[in-house]
């Protein structure tokens, strides 16, 4: 433990004194935020039009969930969306393509149960708005699950929630929760605050890579291993200090974007940070693993520098790929940054946490896989000399 602490202390001192590295990791994303946020603001200034978004739905009208869905429809129609009910699910699946519906919503219920499954069939031609509808449906489902829980515990209270109000009565405020908060839409600065942060975190993998390679370049690696220090202590210290430094840099970028540029980070910074930390772990793992996998520093850093712009682009780091639709939008899902950005945006703009667990699991799984691969490929006598 003492060795790990000594090694961490040394790493932190060196990293804090690394002016070039710190400028790159902090100023670079802030400058890019400003440039892209200003130059591409027109892409984000259009209001979200939901007029004439046509949705086909099929639901068993006798179920509780269908009744709750009726209220969801009423709220959504206020935003200009057009809902059409279908009486036959098979016909509906044909009509979605033929008649140009954005999506089909099928609500399946189990007999005698209040629970059900909501299936969403998206029309690829309207990917962007279909994704928006999906976000709304997710929020509805979360709300419905909460209501269902109340019903099991206090049916009387739940009955008030799911029974629609009379014509002349105001919609209860709880219904607002199922709709998209149209009061806040991401501006260009908001968008690039997130994507430039996740981009620069990926570049943190260079920190991880250099941390290992520098010990070979400076010839200090063998000096350390000639001392009573175990390899796992060295690698653990490198990983911990890399994660810590990158986290501090990320927090500075977040604070600067929030208080200098006024970027909006939502109301649940904790969830956002959980995703950010998992991404940092993945990035540092990638950098340190590549350092062990590839003998030369040029090879490992070359691969990282080549891969990151592609990963970030596919993640919508530079422009939102949903705007292009089609193949580009589809393949973007192979990029972990896509998942990270999407889950952060959902937290900030929809209070939708449905992707958080999956994103964190993906990030940590990638970290473990890379670390295992590096461990397998590393020869027994890893001589830094």
């Amino acid at each position: 433990m003492k060795n790990i602490l000594s090694l961490i202390k040394k790493e932190l001192i060196i990293n804090v004194r690394d002016k070039k590295g710190n400028i790159m990791m902090i100023l670079f994303p802030l400058v890019l935020m400003f440039i892209l946020g200003s130059a591409l603001s027109s892409m984000f200034s259009k209001p979200m039009h939901l007029d004439n978004v046509k949705i086909l739905y099929y639901a068993d009208q006798n179920s509780q969930i269908a009744k709750a869905f009726e209220q969801f429809i009423k709220q959504s129609e206020k935003m200009g969306m057009v809902f059409t009910q279908s009486n036959n699910i098979e016909d509906a699946k044909e009509e979605i393509k033929r008649l140009g519906y954005t999506c089909l919503i099928e609500i399946e219920t189990q007999e005698g149960q209040n629970t059900g499954t909501i299936k969403l069939y998206k029309n690829n031609r309207y990917k962007f708005t279909a994704n928006l509808v999906q976000m709304m449906i997710n929020a509805f489902a979360q709300r419905y699950n909460a209501v269902n829980t109340i019903m099991r515990n206090n049916p009387q209270a739940a009955a008030e929630i799911i029974n629609p109000p009379a014509e002349n009565e105001e919609m209860p405020s709880y219904v607002e929760a199922v709709t998209v908060n149209r009061g806040r839409q991401p501006s260009s600065m908001d968008y690039y605050a997130v994507t430039m942060l996740t981009m620069i975190i990926m570049y943190g993998s260079i920190t991880g890579n250099w941390s290992i390679k520098s010990e070979k370049t400076l010839k200090t690696g063998n000096r350390i291993l000639a001392a009573p220090v175990r390899k796992y202590e060295l690698i653990t210290a490198k990983a911990i200090s890399g994660i810590f430094i990158t986290l501090i840099q990320a927090l500075i970028v977040i604070m600067a974007s929030k208080y200098v540029y006024g970027a909006w980070w939502g109301e649940n910074m904790g969830a956002v940070l959980a995703i950010i930390i998992s991404q940092i772990i993945m990035a540092i793992s990638m950098g340190t693993s590549f350092a062990f996998m590839f003998k030369s520093e040029a090879a490992s850093s070359g691969i990282i520098n080549a891969a990151i712009p592609v990963i970030v682009f596919l993640g919508g780091g530079y422009v939102p790929l949903e705007s292009f639709g089609g193949f580009l939008s589809d393949i973007s899902y192979i990029s972990p940054v896509k998942w990270i950005n999407q889950s952060i945006f959902r937290i900030i703009y929809s209070n939708d946490y449905s992707l958080v667990a999956a994103t964190i699991i993906i990030n940590l799984s990638v970290s473990i896989i890379l670390a295992a691969a590096a461990s397998f490929m590393t020869k027994r006598n890893h001589n830094f000399m």
């Binding site: 202390k9 040394k10 060196i14 004194r17 000096r223």
Partner: protein
């Protein structure tokens, strides 16, 4: 005397080619052991095995009576390594460098800082404690390299070619430091391909070539292996024509005489102690000696005699 290092039948191969080829060697505590040989002889491989950086293929190595295979970390606590290449952090001050490496050997708190300062003072870098190595000369960096290895006061110090590429003044400082460290109680393993350094400071010398120890002993023992004579080279002011060389041959201990250009080469039995009689001969015959040089076989000669190659080929 206790053996601080014991090496038995050590073998290390790379792609089937032996880098260390079945060597056995014991080093007494308190010695300055010189490991001499050309590049690729196996010196660095041997010390890398002792320090646990690479594993051996066969054999046994123990340091301070501990088997390095079974007690690797314990063994490392007793060793200080001065690597051939300067291994310091340019972004840490001299004091921070020494304190960091010393902390890996278990030092902490006040003793850590105290020992680090002592190490810097020993290597003449006390006033540079708070400076960054990027401001240092090559010789100062070499000295810092040593300070990082000695702060924890190891019983065994391994120095791998510590004077490569530095100026003569720094080199002499380092050689004197090595002697002082030995006087303070450390055993030193000193590897080099500069035989002058090894001759100057080492009490015991092993010559390596192609992974084997080809000769072992003190300098006198090694040079005595190939010759028991010295050569006295005298340049008289008047030239050699007036000198009766036969009379010089009659002096006890003189084995042979050659003349070349204006010099007389007298091959003398070592330890004949006849230098005074030879000089006396010249003086009594009114011959002024312009230059006098005693040439003894050196380790280079020993290596050449054994291998047919020069140390620095």
């Amino acid at each position: 005397m206790d053996k601080i290092v014991k090496i038995e039948n050590l073998v290390k191969k790379y792609n089937g080619i032996p880098a260390v080829d079945n060597i056995s060697m014991d080093i007494d505590e308190g010695e300055i052991m010189g490991l001499l040989g050309p590049n690729g002889a196996g010196k660095s491989t041997t010390i890398n095995i002792i320090t646990g950086l690479i594993s051996m293929d066969k054999g046994n190595v123990s340091v301070c009576n501990l088997d390095i295979k079974k007690h690797g970390n314990e063994v490392k606590k007793s060793i200080g390594v001065v690597p051939q290449e300067i291994a310091i952090y340019e972004d840490l001050t001299a004091l921070e460098n020494v304190m960091f490496f010393a902390s890996l050997y278990g030092l902490s708190g006040k003793p850590l800082k105290q020992r680090a300062e002592e190490a810097l003072e020993f290597t003449g870098l006390k006033d540079k404690a708070k400076s960054l190595p990027k401001e240092f000369s090559g010789g100062m960096k070499r000295r810092l390299n040593i300070a990082c290895a000695i702060a924890h006061r190891p019983r065994l110090i391994i120095m791998d070619e510590p004077t490569v590429g530095i100026d003569p003044q720094s080199r002499n400082h380092i050689l004197q430091s090595v002697k002082m460290l030995n006087e303070m109680g450390s055993t030193i393993i000193y590897t080099s391909h500069y035989m002058e350094e090894v001759e100057e400071i080492c009490t015991d010398i092993a010559i390596m070539d192609h992974g084997k120890i080809i000769a072992r002993g003190s300098k006198e023992e090694l040079t005595g292996m190939i010759s028991d004579t010295d050569t006295l080279c005298i340049v008289p002011e008047c030239g050699i024509c007036k000198i009766d060389v036969d009379k010089i041959k009659q002096i006890n201990g003189v084995v042979a005489i050659e003349t070349e250009d204006n010099a007389i080469r007298i091959t003398n039995t070592r330890n004949a102690n006849n230098l005074d009689r030879i000089i006396s001969f010249f003086m009594s015959n009114g011959i002024i000696i312009k230059n006098l040089e005693i040439r003894r076989p050196d380790l280079e000669t020993v290596f050449l005699a054994i291998t047919g190659r020069k140390l620095r080929d």
